[in-house]
């Protein structure tokens, strides 16, 4: 039995005023990923079975490094936004939902940082 009024219970549970921003960010990253992912797929097709020297030379190119960094940043932003919606739709336990979302966010940032670092290390002649 709760003595709180319906309005009191509803307050703070409604719109966080973040929905439009989330929706727009998902679309903008999607548009950016169209050329980036097409470029990436073609590169993987060409270099998938190449040896170390060939791949290393390819990754040394400034254009490739910049595109890869952009791809990784955009991709993980887009992936987090998408995974967030999936979790919010299917995980209803509040604790599990919040901890899963936090874990996914940490993983996305970690993987993006690792990938960008590896790319730059090759680019700057590691």
């Amino acid at each position: 039995m709760s003595f709180r009024t319906p309005l009191g219970r509803a307050r703070g549970l409604g719109s966080a005023r973040l929905g439009t921003g989330h929706w727009l960010a998902q679309r903008i990253t999607a548009v950016a990923l169209i050329p980036l992912s097409l470029w990436f797929v073609m590169s993987v097709m060409i270099y998938m079975r190449a040896d170390y020297a060939t791949v290393s030379i390819w990754l040394h190119s400034p254009v490739v490094s910049v595109l890869l960094v952009l791809l990784l940043a955009t991709l993980y932003y887009h992936a987090f936004l998408g995974l967030q919606v999936v979790i919010e739709d299917y995980v209803h336990d509040e604790w599990l939902k919040v901890s899963t979302l936090m874990l996914i966010k940490f993983m996305c940032v970690l993987l993006a940082a690792a990938g960008i670092f590896a790319t730059l290390r090759v680019a700057f002649g590691g």
Binding site: R27, S37, R49, Y52, Y76, G82, L83, G115
Partner: protein, 131 residues
């Protein structure tokens, strides 16, 4: 939740399966699968940065039958998610909701992503040196 025991709309159990549901579910599944696939990409980039030995290990792993199968599931997932994502962007712009257009674009996504996957496989195995 503010209010419990509200009436719910019929749940998925009572619906007949149709292309719109299958494609929507597959859009999410391919998205999740691609997110997992990015781990392989990061592993590959780290392997290149770590030097020839680490790269050789990654090369063997991706070149194995298991690695190849994973790569092709990710290739199909990416083509599907890309094509269906473009379809979603048209809907967001208010286009393509007529039933006929909806079905044509839906089957189109299946055909294009399958054809692109097959072309990618043919290209990779016919072009360049074996691992």
């Amino acid at each position: 939740m503010a209010t419990d025991n509200r009436p719910l709309s019929p749940h998925i159990g009572i619906y007949r399966w149709q292309i719109s549901m299958v494609m929507s579910i597959l859009h999410r599944l391919t998205g999740v699968w691609l997110s997992l696939g990015t781990v392989a990409l990061i592993y590959w980039l780290i392997a290149v940065a770590a030097g020839p030995d680490a790269y050789a290990a990654a090369h063997t792993l991706f070149g194995s039958w298991f690695g190849q199968i994973l790569m092709w599931t990710w290739a199909f997932s990416l083509f599907y998610h890309l094509c269906n994502g473009i379809r979603h962007l048209f809907w967001d712009a208010g286009q393509g909701f007529e039933i006929r257009t909806f079905y044509i674009s839906g089957y189109g996504v299946w055909i294009i992503s399958t054809v692109l996957t097959v072309l990618a496989i043919l290209f990779v195995y016919m072009h360049g040196s074996p691992p």
